[in-house]
Amino acid sequence: MPMTALPAEWRDFFTLTKPRVMTLVIFTAICGLLAAPGSIHPVLGFTAVLAIAMGAGGSAALNHWWEADLDAGMKRTANRPLPSGRMRPEDARDFGMFLSGVSIMLMGVAIGWLAAGLLLAAIIYYAVIYTMWLKPRTPQNIVIGGGSGAFPPLIGWVAVTGEITAMPLLLFAIIFFWTPPHFWALALFVKTDYAKVGIPMLPVVAGERVTRNQIWIYTLVLAPIVIAPWLIGGTSWVYGTFAVVLSALFIALAAPVVRRDAVMGEGDPMTEEKALFKFSILYLFILFGALVADRVLETQGLIGPGYFAGGVV
């Protein structure tokens, strides 16, 4: 390819950071930051979110580098900067390493080394444990991958408080258990060509029946975890109400997906699966928005500390 002789477009480097995934990372990181007790100077808050975003971008670039061969074999990803030959693989690797390194140093110097350590753990988790090791080896890869998406609110919270407590761990657990039903609902109606390149996606490896059952299990486990911040006194009724209502809706939308057995082949509109997938995105945004609103309202003295505050834990 003659194109590789030319220096890569800077936009292709930007593409390597997976900007669309980044929006969710930035949103949940900001929510963790705002929901944490105490305050952080706006400049430092911005820096913490920037460091988290850079870490996510760096590990995304490493993911592009590692999976270039796989991406080349799939229609959806064949036009990415590496498989299309617009960029040299080593450049993507170096860019990813550099971005990851800078993000950790930035977090450590400006915010604190506990948050920086968590950021390092998140990057290693996504780029090494998930991408290199477990994704090609287990049909539970989505569960593992959900762990990397769960780090941003935890790191955002710890950037403010400087310590790991029950609340930030619950935020981690919420995204961790939310990811499988969210992604598998999508996997049921979008037929990918992952199988072609040897990535064992659950619906392909274990079948649709198993996938629907797994969606149900994770949906049921998710509900108590989402309500837990209220029950342990970490939030007031504002978050508690949203958590209960959203959980009920999630279960109500997951139930028909789980119950459906006879899929009508190619012509099946997959209405229930699409509805669950769309709702799952809305669910996460509203839930984290409600958490932030709850904490801000209490700090402003507009609502009480919550029925369970100081009671259970």
């Binding site: 220096p7 890569a8 477009e9 800077w10 400049v43 430092l44 820096t47 110097v109 400006a110």
Partner: protein, 42 residues
């Protein structure tokens, strides 16, 4: 290298340099701000 390729090469190099330069400038300002804020809080 044909004249067209050379023009494209220069365009990409210039664009990349501008992005790198802008990023560096941004970080200089950011680190200055961080320093001021952190000194103020101690």
């Amino acid at each position: 290298m044909t004249p067209e390729e050379e023009a494209e090469f220069k365009r990409r190099r210039t664009a990349r340099n501008l992005v790198v330069g802008g990023t560096l400038l941004f970080f200089v300002i950011l680190f200055y701000a961080i320093t001021i804020v952190r000194m103020g809080s101690q």
